[in-house]
């Protein structure tokens, strides 16, 4: 990273303080000119803890987006100023969101990966009528029971992940009559995903064998490996998250268990962190640098130039959200959260760096978009440390509506609070 957001923030605070002091001595009213000019955007995401590896890419993605936006002349002639912080946990995320809105007067908050923290930020955003773009929380619950008018989801919902991967499983005959055994991350996201996974597997004739809730800081999966080995399931399903996935794959291969592995949530960084020879299974993915549309290539090239490695799906989410927000602001000539929310609800189309354009669905604010599944290459075919997997064609195929993989109103109803 050429300039960390923290230092940028500190510098801007110091400049602000210095400017205020100078103005004070001259007797001007205490309005700092630069503040009224820049449009501030808050960015919150976990940068430490078990989601930290993914959060790092989120920060890189949003920094690149802001840099590009400002290079293009900003929004209505005003620059974007990013205030980015580590969201840590739900309590801290809530406090920081509050402070970003009340003290720093941000026009919108972008980010988050943990569904628990995402809910905390969403509540603050709703109370203060400020936009929140969720870039990494998968829980259906955030789009359903906990939905609100100011929260929009660039990240796909658990149901979309399960359906995307599910298509591949159905095609390969890995659901009907098959005994499945799952490991689930023991927090809001995992519980939500397990519910969705059960709904899908049951609907298609899968037989639930057992589920293990796994603490997020687990570093030794050996007790679970022994249990899985004794249970002899037909498939092993991962509803894990963050570092858990890296460790799970490494130790599953270490124990040499023979059952096929399927996952219902995934981030590329976790495979890169395990490395060649330590990865296995079929997983869903919201985006990867292997997508070759012109806009996706441009993003991948710019990102690789800036950071010396390809973008990860989380970098895509935060980059994209900033671009969508700015596009809406430019279109409306306004930074008003309520107006932007109305604009998005009317079904405005956006480039999502995939084959088809996407739109935010009006009743639950979910970005409708294509998904992918990935499989890992045999180690002999791996070219470098970023080249670990092959990606499927987009799901759903071009002749089907994007809505077929998304949760229905019956599955996940949302009533927006006033």
């Amino acid at each position: 990273m050429e300039q960390s957001p923290v230092s940028r923030r500190r510098r801007s605070l110091m400049q602000g303080a210095g400017a205020a002091a100078a103005l004070g001595t001259l007797g001007f009213p205490a309005i700092v000119r630069s503040q009224s000019e820049a449009i501030r955007i808050g960015h919150l995401t976990p940068r430490t803890g078990f989601l930290g590896p993914v959060g790092e890419y989120a920060v890189m993605g949003i920094n690149l987006a802001v840099e590009e936006i400002n290079a293009d002349g900003g929004v209505m002639g005003r620059k974007i100023e990013l205030i980015a912080e580590d969201s840590v946990n739900p309590q801290t995320a809530s406090t920081k969101a509050e402070r970003l809105i009340e003290r720093d007067k941000v026009s919108a908050i972008i980010g988050e990966i943990s569904s628990a923290s995402g809910l905390a930020i969403a509540q603050v955003a709703q109370r203060n009528r400020t936009l929140f773009f969720n870039t990494g929380c998968n829980s259906d619950d955030l789009r359903g029971k906990s939905c609100n008018r100011y929260m929009f989801h660039t990240e796909a919902a658990n149901t979309m992940y399960v359906n995307a991967c599910g298509q591949a499983l159905l095609r390969d005959g890995m659901v009907k009559g098959k005994k499945w055994y799952s490991l689930t991350a023991d927090y809001a996201f995992g519980h939500d995903l397990l519910k969705v996974a059960k709904r899908f597997m049951t609907a298609h004739g899968g037989e639930f064998a057992a589920d293990e809730l796994v603490a997020t800081d687990t570093t030794d999966f050996s007790p679970y490996m022994l249990k899985i080995r004794n249970a002899k399931p037909d498939i092993v399903v991962s509803n894990l998250a963050g570092n858990q996935i890296t460790v799970f794959m490494k130790q599953y291969i270490e124990f040499g268990l023979p059952f096929p592995v399927v996952g219902f949530a995934f981030d590329t960084a976790l495979a890169w962190g395990a490395g060649k020879g330590n990865v296995l299974g079929t997983w869903p993915l919201v985006w990867s640098h292997e997508v070759k549309t012109p806009a996706a290539r441009k993003f991948t090239e710019a990102f690789t130039r800036k950071y010396g490695r390809p973008p990860e799906n989380q970098a895509w989410g935060d980059y994209l959200s900033a671009k969508h927000l700015v596009q809406a602001m430019n279109e409306l000539k306004s930074t008003d959260s309520t107006k932007i929310a109305e604009y998005l609800e009317k079904g405005a189309k956006f480039d999502v760096l995939k084959t088809r354009e996407g739109y935010y669905r009006n009743w639950d604010h979910q970005l409708m978009q294509e998904m992918y599944t990935i499989r890992f290459k045999p180690t002999a075919e791996v070219k470098d440390r970023w080249d670990l997997f092959t990606m499927s064609a987009p799901v759903p195929p071009a002749n089907q509506s994007l809505e077929v993989i998304a949760p229905t109103r019956e599955e996940n109803n949302c009533t927006m609070p006033a």
């Binding site: 430490t48 796994v214 800081d217 270490e254 962190g273 395990a274």
Partner: protein
């Protein structure tokens, strides 16, 4: 048959306990002799793992296995000489603040240099695969790890119990003033103890790097569990720490079998119970100056 899976978990737990052991023994040593609760101990473990990943590219896993703990021991010597040494006789809270700060600085430094994403690292080819004994399965790599851990613990035991060096260290644990009155300076012993302790932590880092995630927070992750082992075992007791590590491993394995959501929490519950009945830990010695 319920019994075989349970036996499997017990055995696996005993083996898993060895992971905490290398770190817990060092923690216990530094505290016993210096009165310093080293919250930065996990950072040395993480450093060991990172050095292993970086060194293995050039000198292979075997070379990294030797060199990484040596490098970390050298860093430990510097940290002891310029930081720890000032705090042995101070209020324990100051030492806590120092090492807590150090742990944060180390974690953030790793993040700045290597990034937050885990670094890929694999089991060396020769140690891949599984060992089957009847119904029981175990990874060949973990068995090798266990052998290394047992050897390290045995060597440490010999050093402390059977050498002149160990006698001075043990005397220093019990009564540093008397050792000083006999004209023996504990300073060089303290340096050695810190170097050995952090080298053991680094060794654990090298050993675990292939099977767990190598990421900046890995030190913080393992530190809490290791502390629990030290507290359960009792301060100042070599075998107490060893037994506690094995017990924690077994309890965790059994909880994972019967009630998985509580697997990680089980060791804290165990600590609570032990502290209720034996505030000094299972085998804790009465050390006059800490009473």
């Amino acid at each position: 048959m319920m019994l075989i899976p349970i036996l499997e978990q017990v055995l696996n737990g005993l083996l898993a306990g060895a992971y905490y052991l290398l770190i817990a023994l060092g923690l216990s040593l530094i505290f016993s002799l210096g009165g310093l609760v080293n919250l930065a101990h996990g950072a040395f473990y993480a450093l060991g793992a990172y050095f292993a990943v970086k060194l293995a590219d050039h000198i292979g896993f075997g070379g990294a296995f030797v060199l990484s703990p040596v490098l970390v021991a050298l860093i430990g010597l510097l940290v002891e000489r310029f930081l720890f040494r000032r705090f042995y006789r101070e209020d324990p809270a100051l030492g806590l603040l120092l090492t807590f700060g150090l742990a944060m600085v180390a974690e953030q430094a790793l993040r700045l240099v290597f990034g937050a994403a885990p670094l890929p690292f694999s089991i060396p080819e020769a140690l891949k695969g599984q060992v089957l004994a009847g119904d029981f399965i175990y990874s060949r790599y973990r068995l090798t790890m266990l052998a290394v851990a047992v050897a390290a613990v045995a060597a440490l035991w010999y050093l402390l119990q059977r050498t002149p060096f160990g006698r001075v260290v043990r005397a220093g644990v019990q009564n540093p003033d008397m050792v000083a009155a006999l004209g023996i300076s504990l300073a060089p012993y303290m340096s050695s103890v810190v170097a050995i302790s952090v080298a053991l932590a680094a060794l654990a880092g090298v050993l675990l790097a292939p099977i767990t995630g190598v990421h900046p927070a890995m030190g913080a992750e393992i530190l809490t569990a290791s502390f629990v082992v030290v507290v359960i075992g009792g301060l100042g007791s070599f075998w107490g720490v060893v037994y506690a590590a094995l017990i924690v491993g077994v309890v965790r394995g059994l909880t994972a079998y019967f009630f998985p959501p509580a697997a990680e929490a089980s060791m804290y519950l165990l600590m609570l119970v032990v502290l209720l009945f034996r505030p000094r830990g299972l085998f804790g010695e009465r050390i006059v100056r800490f009473e």
